[in-house]
Symmetry: C2
Subunit: 197 residues, 2 copies
Amino acid sequence: MAIGIEIIRDLRQRTGAGVLDCKKALEEADGDIEKAIELLRKKGLAIAARKADREANEGLVEAYIHPGGRLGALLELNCETDFVARTEDFRGLAHDLAMQVAATNPQYLTPEDVPSEVLERQREWQREQLGGGKPEEVVERILEGKVRKYYQEVCLLEQTFIRDEGLIVRDLITSKIAKLGENIKVRRFARFELEGH
Amino acid sequence: MAIGIEIIRDLRQRTGAGVLDCKKALEEADGDIEKAIELLRKKGLAIAARKADREANEGLVEAYIHPGGRLGALLELNCETDFVARTEDFRGLAHDLAMQVAATNPQYLTPEDVPSEVLERQREWQREQLGGGKPEEVVERILEGKVRKYYQEVCLLEQTFIRDEGLIVRDLITSKIAKLGENIKVRRFARFELEGH
């Protein structure tokens, strides 16, 4: 089918992918932009996976202070070269992530960073909430769902992006890896908030 | 002796103390402004000591990102009321302290925060540097001096203020306590720097 220029431009803006990739994805998706985004995301994931092992020691330290000054976050975002660190895309990502940390108060970066005793406590607490009487395999399945939900709350990379509810932070970063062509990693973050606020 | 208006204004600017206090201090110091500052500082210390037990849960979270974005600091500075938190003096202090943390990379807030095993390692290392053959009491005296110097390097409150080499950070804060009339405390700080920079 023929793909219009406007929809290609639209897709480029939303994904950061190149013109040809956007055209191909739209053709494959029969002009359905959401489907094309999904296709590009999968492709982005593939690109990102190839870059995920590369060292990333350049980047930016970025801060976000919430208006009023009662709450702030500091975040280190790494990439491979100083060149990419200076791009508007990378700067924007660092800013958005610092704001995300300030807004959502994540405790860990990834599920692997949650200490096993914390996870165990979570599971025990959830098990108590469920009460007795259910078959163990049903309980296990429910607990798995609860743990996944817990990760989505406390792990930065699993959280919903505050500026786009259709996007997980991990996928946001992946899309930037695909666009900028370098491995990108959140190295660490801190968040301070005045007590009782 | 008669104290001129200019020198009083000068002293007020440098200490933040009131007109009458400045006049009195200058009279007591026979018009010697450095001596008057010392007198006011001692007085400031007295004022500060009376306020040091008061709760301080208001304040500001402030960030400083060094130009280039490779290095940044986040700091929480507490005072007693939101009113004081909004003053230019308090904001300036928060900014200066965040910049101090970025510039000097303190590891602790006060000497009491240095873990005893870290201190012990420091002392052992310094003792090795000294070599043998000195009487133990001489060694002890030298070690005390070295430990004091170590504190001045790694403890924020013991450091020399980067914007005024004649001032220790602790005394800078004390002078603001005296000026603003509220207890002021650094609650915590964080500092991120790109690796290898």
